[in-house]
């Protein structure tokens, strides 16, 4: 084979050299790449026709191609002074020939145009000119990285078709990333992350609900990566690109390439970022002031609204004075001056919970790296430290990173590389409990403005209003909880990669890569006996049979959870690539990949714990039932294996026409699933026409590049948790004392009809750059159709189960993406460039099987994340909401839903479905980013906007119209509710039990109230993500102190957001979640120095 190719090359050489004049001389040399010192095979070395003319040669053209070692020999006519060397992806280079030198080493620099020349897919390095797939590449430099902790935060607004939404402002919280909308509904919707070729484990982001607690400082394994170590990020979007990653790639792939050492002098780099994040303001929430709250309570006590009448400061004063009934009967004037004074004194308190529960913070980050090497070996070493303090005191997170990367060239054919990424993350917080009010974000919104945290002696004042209906003797104070509880999470992540690349000959390459990933997390939580958390535990375990004491020993509680995720990934592949007759380019690859993952979890709880002595006391359970409820130990273990085979092939003709295909078989361990589902085939076809290479366009100098791509692929997925059999897992239990038996617990119902979920993707795109690359754009259209999609559906409880996975729908995502980058002004001192990307994604459910028990409407013809609501028509003359029925009449809830006496609708499920109206999509239809960079002499300024448009959010109702708890604070909407004296209001009245009973029950127990269109808001927004001003310190100043380059910059993040009306909410992004932390503003000073 090798001989064959060599012969071809030789033949070409001969062909080229045929007309060489004997009067000339022979010049030889090597062409190598500056990037890795590798020889460039097939680079063309030519004498331009100009030169030939000048030299007076009769030849029209003269040139040779380099051989497998990058060597060339060319006979040039006398008088030729220059050779021109070119290679795709590299800047053409002209070499001046000197008379006394016949040997030259030509070092080619990779070209730095907007369209990068090779694309790393994780499996292959594909030349841009042969790229048939839809792929976006983002180079990560210090400038664009900004002051962020995690890689995912970098991506917001950078890539067309990738939406990154921040759900909460908690330090280190992951972003919700979607590539081209929502593809699948079962399982994860997160993209697959790949680091230097190895797919990562544990990158799924949990649902928004779970992120709301501060002690749920959830981090995906992506958070272990230091953005400063990243060279570039490639986002794979269509089937042609992702098919090779198999089933896990259904939601797109994000490929991270980390920095490498480069041959040459050692480079030392130091950077630091110091950020200040001011105390967030919750003014936007429009909470009641003390005076307003007191008025509200007084007002409610005189009304017929009796829900939780005993709660609230006013009610308590009245009860203590025994004037509760007097007030109800006679009002304010019936109160004694003393009681009036007490109530008025509440007005004067006005505790600013936001002010005392939150803080301004200072965050720091330091990175240090050394890299370099020679032609035999390169290295890259870095360490990084990141420390972020949450705006909630006591909450912080830090990360320590180290990277060691080395690469050795053992021979001209064999290259070996080893990398080690290690990180340790530690976060501190305190305990929040299931009631949620220990969460400062929740508490700051719910605590009464007249509540004081401390008395004059500095002792805790306990809040008894926030604890639900009954007055309880459990004492709660948010500051005490913060003081006396701890919650720490320590995570360690190690990823080791080892790869071997063997160049068998010119055409064949073999490579193998072994990756090992270990993520270990240790969560410890501690509660002192003097906390609400423990008091509650004691209260719940106090038994009359024990003489009214708790069976839990005195002291605190210590819980520890440990989990370990391990993964081994091994792949081996053979690549073939060859060019025949200069016009036929063939590439092929075959490979196999196996992966095994292990997960174990262990949890232990100790009571009677003393933090000083680290000792605990035994728990003497009164009986087995209690022991079962207070499990002191639990563990679990899971193991999974995957094996895959894959191949790709591509053929290019004359560098103009390329067709490609890829196929992959994914196998995984499936238990209780038919073996025919074991291997899933996935494949794609694709084509590319590079019009700019056509003779008729090559002459048009304005067009630098023009190409058209098309691809089609199919992917499949099967739900592993559902079996067609009745399947369960073993547990054991004592039904009667002293006898323990095995039981088989059934998790999901059997489903004999579950089929594969299939996704077909069509992508068509065009890339163009014109006017010396001043304007480049990529335009993509895609059409992705998922059929037999699997989703969890609610079952009638009479099946014995709550939900099951079913093939329920087919769905289409189609959209257009445009990425445009322009160089608007380019002068010697001033440049202005713009990157603009915009994507329109339209998601439509094409067909949906609506279970006969479903009462929410079918989404056929609407987006999967549709927001449906009951159309309201104002209020009736008692302040009850009125609804628009299908005939356009305003009717009450009872009439609309035909409520029975118990408040349930007597309409059939289908009739209930028809009562809803479609409002809009919960996902933005348009997403994108707009980045402007200005450079003036040593200054640069960039502004980065990201936007999400045409979306709706369902917000939590400002107050419940049936179970509004007057003991807690709320926003000012309650003041504007309908009352007989405020009958023009559009906000519902507080309803009274017993009056219009069926409607009351419907509102309090069913979802009607929260499903009213009153609680759906448009949430379009544009966010100024960051603005950065940098200054490159002039080299002449630096050279004196031995510094190569230095940049100082100021950056501000999240300064502004423009959106539709989001009154009563902190950010448009978090409108659905009242208790999310605000997205923090920050101001950063950064310094980056290279030696």
């Amino acid at each position: 084979m090798r001989t064959l190719v060599f012969c071809c090359l030789l033949a070409l050489n001969v062909l080229y050299a045929a007309g060489a004049s004997a009067a000339g001389r022979t010049v030889s040399g090597t062409v190598i790449s500056a990037e890795d010192n590798e020889p460039l095979v097939g680079a063309s070395v030519i004498v331009t026709s100009d030169q030939l003319k000048k030299a007076g040669s009769s030849q029209e053209s003269l040139g040779v191609l380099t051989d497998i070692d990058g060597k060339f020999t060319i006979a040039v006519p006398a008088g030729v002074k220059e050779l021109k060397c070119s290679y795709v992806g590299y800047t053409a280079k002209t070499v001046t020939l000197s008379a006394d030198k016949d040997k030259y080493t030509i070092i080619m620099e990779s070209s730095s145009t907007m369209l990068k020349d090779v694309v790393v897919t994780g499996y292959q390095v594909i030349e841009r000119r042969k790229l048939t797939a839809s792929i976006s590449k983002v180079g990560v430099d210090d400038e664009m990285r900004g002051a962020v902790m995690n890689v995912d935060q970098i991506l917001a607004g950078q890539v067309a078709g990738l939406s990154a939404v921040q759900n909460t402002g908690t330090p280190g919280a992951p972003m919700k990333i979607r590539i081209r909308g929502t593809a699948s509904l079962s399982g994860t919707q997160d993209p697959l992350w790949v680091i230097d070729g190895v797919p990562m484990n544990g990158t799924d982001v949990p649902a928004m609900e779970e992120l709301k607690d501060i002690d749920n400082i959830y981090q995906s394994s992506v958070a272990g990566l230091n953005p400063a170590d990243i060279e570039s990020i490639t986002v794979l979007k269509d089937a042609a690109a992702t098919a090779i990653y198999g089933t896990r790639a259904a939601n797109g792939v994000i490929v991270i390439t980390t920095k490498n050492g480069k041959a040459g002098k050692a480079e030392v780099n130091f950077s630091t970022r110091l950020s200040f994040s001011p105390k967030p303001s919750i003014d936007r929430l429009n909470l009641l002031t003390a005076s307003e709250k007191v008025d509200l309570e007084l007002d409610l006590l005189q009304s017929d609204y009796t829900y939780r009448e005993n709660k609230g400061g006013v009610s308590r004063i009245l009860q203590n004075a025994g004037m509760f009934d007097a007030y109800k009967a006679g009002g304010w004037n019936a109160l004694s001056p003393d009681v009036q004074a007490q109530i008025n004194s509440l007005r004067a308190i006005n505790t600013d919970w936001n002010d005392i529960l939150f803080r301004s913070t200072f965050n720091q980050e330091y990175n240090f790296s050394v890299s370099g090497g020679n032609d035999k070996a390169t290295y890259y070493t870095s360490v990084g430290f990141y420390d972020e303090n949450g705006n909630v005191p006591g909450v912080n997170i830090n990360r320590f990173n180290a990277v060691l990367k080395t690469s050795y060239r053992l021979s001209s054919r064999l290259k070996v590389g080893a990398s080690l990424f290690a990180n340790r993350r530690k976060s501190n917080s305190y305990l929040t409990d299931s009631d949620g009010f220990t969460n400062p974000v929740y508490y700051s919104r719910r605590a009464n403005p007249y509540q004081l945290p401390y008395d004059e002696n500095g002792n805790y004042i306990y809040d008894i209003d926030i604890q639900g209906r009954e007055d309880s003797d459990l004492k709660f104070n948010v500051f005490e909880e913060r003081e006396n509880t701890d919650y720490t999470q320590e995570s360690m992540g190690v990823t080791a990669l080892f790869d071997v690349n063997l160049r068998i000959n010119d055409s064949f390459k073999a490579s193998t890569q072994l990756g090992f990933q270990l993520d270990h997390s240790d969560v410890q939580s501690y509660a002192h006996a003097e906390t609400y958390a423990m008091r509650k535990e004691f209260e719940r375990t106090t038994l009359a049979s024990l003489g009214g004491v708790s069976f839990l020993p005195d002291g605190g509680r210590h819980m520890q959870n440990r989990s370990t995720n391990k993964q081994i990934n091994w792949k081996a592949q053979v690549e073939y690539g060859s060019t025949f007759s200069r016009v036929h380019d063939v590439e092929a690859m075959l490979g196999t990949e196996i992966r095994k993952t292990w997960y174990d979890y262990f949890s232990s709880t100790a009571y009677g714990y003393d933090k000083k002595t680290l000792t605990s006391k035994p728990v003497l359970f009164p009986n087995e039932s209690w022991a079962r409820q207070y499990s002191l130990h639990s563990e679990s273990y899971a193991e999974n294996a995957y094996a895959s085979f894959y191949g790709t092939a591509s053929y290019s003709l004359m560098h103009r026409y390329t067709i490609g295909t890829s196929i992959r078989f994914d196998g995984s361990d499936l238990f209780g699933v038919d073996k025919k589902y074991r291997f899933l085939p996935l494949y794609s076809f694709s084509g590319l026409w590079r019009a700019s290479e056509e003779p008729f366009l090559r002459e048009v100098s304005a067009i630098n590049n023009l190409g058209f791509r098309v691809s089609y692929g199919i992917q499949g997925n099967i739900d592993k948790s559902t079996s067609s059999y009745v399947m369960g897992y073993y547990n054991n239990i004592s039904i009667l004392p002293g006898m323990t038996e095995d039981v088989i617990v059934l998790g999901t119902p059997p489903n004999r009809r579950l089929r594969w979920e299939k996704t077909r993707t069509l992508n068509a795109g065009a890339d163009m750059s014109v006017l010396d690359n001043a304007i480049s754009f990529s335009l993509d259209y895609y059409h992705r159709k998922g059929s037999d999609l699997i989703a969890l559906k609610m079952l009638p409880l009479e099946t014995g189960f709550s939900s099951t996975s079913v093939n329920w729908a087919s769905m289409r995502n189609q959209g257009v993406e445009l990425a445009l980058s322009t160089r608007n002004i380019s002068t010697k001192d001033f440049t202005w460039t713009t990157n603009f990307n915009i994507a329109y994604n339209e998601n439509t459910v094409l067909q949906e099987t609506v279970p006969s028990n479903q009462t929410t409407p079918s989404r056929e013809g609407h987006p999967v994340n549709s927001i449906f609501a009951y159309k309201t028509a104002g209020l009736d003359d008692e302040g009850y909401p009125l609804f628009l029925n299908k005939d356009g009449e305003a009717v009450t809830a009872a009439e609309l839903l035909k409520l029975n006496g118990a408040g349930a609708s007597m309409l059939s499920a289908e009739e209930q479905r028809n009562m809803y109206s479609y409002i809009g999509s919960g996902d933005p239809l348009i997403t994108g980013g707009f980045i402007n960079t200005f450079k003036y002499k040593q200054f640069d300024l960039s502004l980065n906007f990201a936007f999400n448009l045409l979306m709706y959010s369902r917000v939590t109702p400002s107050y419940s119209n049936t179970i509004f708890d007057r003991g807690m604070n709320t926003n000012r909407d309650i003041l504007n509710r309908w009352t007989p004296s405020n009958s023009s209001s559009t906000l519902p009245a507080l309803l009274v039990e017993g009056k219009r009973q069926s409607e009351y029950v419907q509102y309090s127990e069913f979802s009607l109230y929260s499903m009213m269109d009153t609680w759906v808001k448009r949430s379009d927004h544009v966010r100024l993500q960051n603005i950065r001003l940098g200054y490159n310190i002039p080299k002449q100043w630096l050279s004196r102190i031995g510094v190569k380059n230095a940049v100082v910059a100021f950056e501000a993040r999240n300064l502004l957001v423009f959106g539709c009306n989001y009154d009563n909410y902190l950010d448009p992004e978090t409108m659905g979640n009242q208790f999310a932390q605000p997205i923090p503003k920050s101001y950063t000073f950064s310094l980056n120095v290279g030696f």
Partner: protein
């Protein structure tokens, strides 16, 4: 050369492919598809373990319990609205009746019944016994459901009154509608007959006596018939149990509801779970029903002060009890008196006194005997009801008994405020939980 390379690669891939199957054959820790008799036994054990303690939760609605302001907020939040029958504006933290759990048991029971011929590695007795137990579970779950969530058989027109959906197969795709009270009871009686046919174990060793036995069929049947007002059926069934097992426990030594007691027929439900037991006190008026000389007074309860009485028979699975001998005497007495047998009045006196003899000390019994023998039919019926309340207190019977008999007016007081359940109040039927209606709107009709 190229051919060679490619064929080598292909060969290599083939070898890998075949070795893959074993690489991928991972048996997940603890996961199982039941096929053998042992595995089916474990599956039925799960069904037994899933049987809910809703009879205990329903007891909050009867007159047995007291709640007051001294109780933990958490308990008040969970149970107070059930206690005061506040069904229409219950606090959002109120405990819910476990509708799905009943149907989960039914799913397993139906699956076992359907799998009879596919169970491997078991003797036919063993397999038939399991299927029989599945029929018993099916009958008993429907029986509790219909009594929780439908009007009492004796207080409505059973053929025209909607009850709960009958679930008689393991299908998970259809959406069911409510069957009538009569249909549900007919199915329960059918299942009891099938169970009788299949069951072959007379008794289980202590610790496994949560399982149904041949004897349990008539024991449950006697209760079902009693609830239907089928007096002769109830009497006959109770008699056939008593013919085999009639010994009454010595209350001084062991509570009759203890799972080790001689009275145990089926010791399945932990009616007064640990949670319920700690969340309530014994209602003083109820406690007053126990007179002097009643041996149960100091064994069932511990009186702390005049108004504070703690419950001893609960809070642990030691007191798990579904059906026991004591109830059989009461069923027989009531059924006999109501015409279940000839010479019913005398027979009722005999049955009642047999039980009372074991529950009162000698002098109190002598007094009882005298008064019982002098009672009119009406008075005797009341005495049987009262003895039933005393004997089966906190075993999950009281609420059901009130429902099926007189549905009296009950008044409860909490912090000075009075709550009333009127005579024959519609709240004698517990609403089907909202979450069940949300998942199946047919249940609202």
């Amino acid at each position: 050369m190229r051919k060679n390379t490619i064929s080598t690669i292909l060969l290599g891939l083939l070898v890998l492919m075949s070795s893959c199957d074993s690489f991928l054959d991972i048996k997940p820790v603890g996961k199982v598809i039941p096929t053998t008799a042992d595995e089916f036994r474990a599956l039925i054990a799960e069904a037994y373990a899933t049987v809910s303690d809703d009879r205990g939760l329903a007891s909050f609605r009867s007159d047995e319990m007291l709640m007051d302001g001294t109780m933990a907020a958490n308990d008040l939040n969970s149970y107070k609205d059930i206690w005061i029958w506040n069904d229409y504006a219950a606090s959002e933290n109120t405990a819910t009746f476990k509708w799905r759990q009943f149907y989960h048991v039914l799913f397993i029971a139906n699956y076992v019944i359907e799998s009879e011929s596919m169970i491997e590695n078991g003797t036919s007795e063993e397999i038939r016994q399991m299927v029989g137990e599945a029929y018993m579970l099916r009958a008993y779950m429907h029986f509790i459901l219909v009594n929780l969530h439908a009007p009492a058989y004796t207080k409505c027109d059973p053929a025209a009154t909607k009850a709960v959906p009958l679930k008689l197969d393991s299908d998970t795709e259809n959406t069911l509608s409510r069957n009538t009270v009569a249909e549900v009871y007919a199915s329960i009686l059918d299942d009891l007959e099938s169970a009788e046919d299949y069951l072959n174990v007379d008794s289980w060793e202590t610790g496994l006596n949560y399982r149904f036995t041949t004897l349990s069929v008539d024991a449950i049947r006697s209760r079902v018939c009693l609830y239907m007002g089928d007096w002769s059926g109830a009497y006959k069934a109770a008699q056939s149990v008593l013919a085999v097992k009639s010994e009454l426990a010595d209350v001084a030594k062991m509570l009759p509801s203890d799972y080790r007691s001689v009275e145990s027929i089926v010791s399945l439900e932990e009616v007064m779970s640990a949670q319920y037991a700690r969340a309530m006190k014994v209602a003083p008026a109820f406690f007053k029903m126990y007179g002097t000389g009643d041996l149960r007074k100091n064994k069932y309860y511990k009186q702390i002060t005049a108004s504070k009485v703690d419950l001893l028979k609960g809070g642990s699975n030691q007191y798990s009890c579904t059906v026991r001998v004591g109830e059989m005497y009461l069923n027989a007495a009531e059924a006999a008196l109501q015409g279940g047998t000839e010479n019913g009045l005398d027979e009722a006196r005999t049955q009642l006194l047999t039980l009372q003899q074991a529950r009162y000390n000698a002098s109190a019994y002598a007094a009882k005997m005298k008064s019982v023998n002098e009672m009119t039919s009406e008075d005797l019926l009341q005495e049987i009801y009262d003895e039933r309340a005393r004997e089966l207190a906190f075993e999950g019977h009281r609420w059901f008994d009130l429902r099926r008999t007189t549905q009296p007016r009950i008044v409860k007081t909490f912090k000075g405020e009075e709550y009333v359940l009127e005579e024959g109040d519609e709240r004698y039927t517990i609403r089907i939980p909202a979450e069940a209606i949300e998942a199946n709107p047919n249940l609202a009709n």
